[in-house]
């Protein structure tokens, strides 16, 4: 049964399959790295490894918010390797069966959302990160 972790980044409700989440870090230290693709802002250190962190949104670079330290980050597993997702708030983890596989099966678009608790949560597909150079957590 698919379960999702629901969270907010820059006030945007987001979600990702719990199967992809390895760890949730509280108060992670984000190190800004220069000259990255727009999808990334820097990296965090997790268990001695350097994990790239996704940008919250497209304006995170160059508008004075690049030094923003997120309250949480989700260390996730993608096909290309581990990646960190910034989150300002962890909402909850859905129950098994709460989100139908029918809803999830269509999750191949960057704009796909899932309605839970009367809110539309953006469903993150990390495999799009390498295909879409403008991919960010908030779309």
């Amino acid at each position: 049964m698919m379960r999702l972790i629901l969270f907010e980044t820059l006030a945007v409700p987001c979600s990702i399959s719990l199967d992809k989440v390895l760890h949730v870090l509280t108060s992670p230290q984000l190190f800004i790295l220069p000259l990255l693709r727009p999808s990334f802002v820097g990296a965090v250190v997790y268990q001695g490894q350097v994990i790239p962190m996704l940008a919250g949104n497209a304006s995170e670079k160059g508008e004075g918010t690049v030094n923003r330290q997120p309250a949480f980050c989700l260390i996730c597993e993608a096909e290309f390797g581990s990646v960190a997702i910034p989150a300002d708030k962890i909402v909850r983890i859905t129950e098994a069966g709460e989100v139908s596989s029918k809803i999830m099966s269509g999750c191949d678009s960057r704009d796909e959302t899932c309605e839970i608790d009367d809110r539309d949560y953006r469903l993150l597909d990390l495999n799009q990160v390498l295909d879409d150079s403008d991919f960010t957590v908030c779309g």
């Binding site: 790295l33 000259l35 990255l36 693709r37 727009p38 001695g48 790239p52």
Partner: protein, 149 residues
């Protein structure tokens, strides 16, 4: 005897910390060094001026601009680091030099190429040092970037 190949210099520019091999470093020039500012438009946009190092005209470049470090807090009176280049030495002004450290104290981590904006980014790895993540580059990578402008 100290082996320069085992030493790295740690310095900061606009709030970002860099580490480079001491073997690439020719000199650290102190505060008050005379820098000749180019007259009119520089032929190379990243060049800030020039100075004389061992009777050689040495170009002073803008490392913050190369790495697009937009903080803008670079100290204009900071030390100058002179590095070996392929054709001639080059120099950068930094905010401060944190020190010279044995290479064994760093953990170097190559970064995957998909992270970078393009193939010409003048660093390819970071270094963990005392809980901080440093940009690890060498003189050759940065020298090539100056020539690309």
């Amino acid at each position: 005897m100290v082996d320069a190949d085992r030493l790295r210099i740690v310095f900061r520019v606009n709030g970002v910390t860099f580490v480079m091999p001491v073997a690439d470093l020719l000199a650290i020039r102190g505060v008050g060094e005379d820098v000749l500012t180019p007259q009119g438009q520089s032929c190379e946009s990243l060049q800030l001026g020039s100075l004389t190092y061992r009777e050689t005209n040495t170009r002073l470049y803008d490392l913050a601009a190369l790495f697009e470090l937009e903080d803008g807090s670079l100290c204009e009176e900071g030390p100058l680091l002179v590095f070996a280049g392929s054709d001639s030495p080059w120099a950068v002004r930094v905010d401060q030099v944190d020190g010279v450290v044995d290479v064994a104290r760093f953990e170097f981590h190559p970064l995957p190429t998909y992270l970078f904006r393009d193939e010409f980014v003048p660093y390819s790895q970071v270094a963990l040092y005392e809980g901080q993540l440093l940009i690890s580059a060498d003189s050759r990578q940065i020298d090539q970037a100056w020539h690309r402008g």
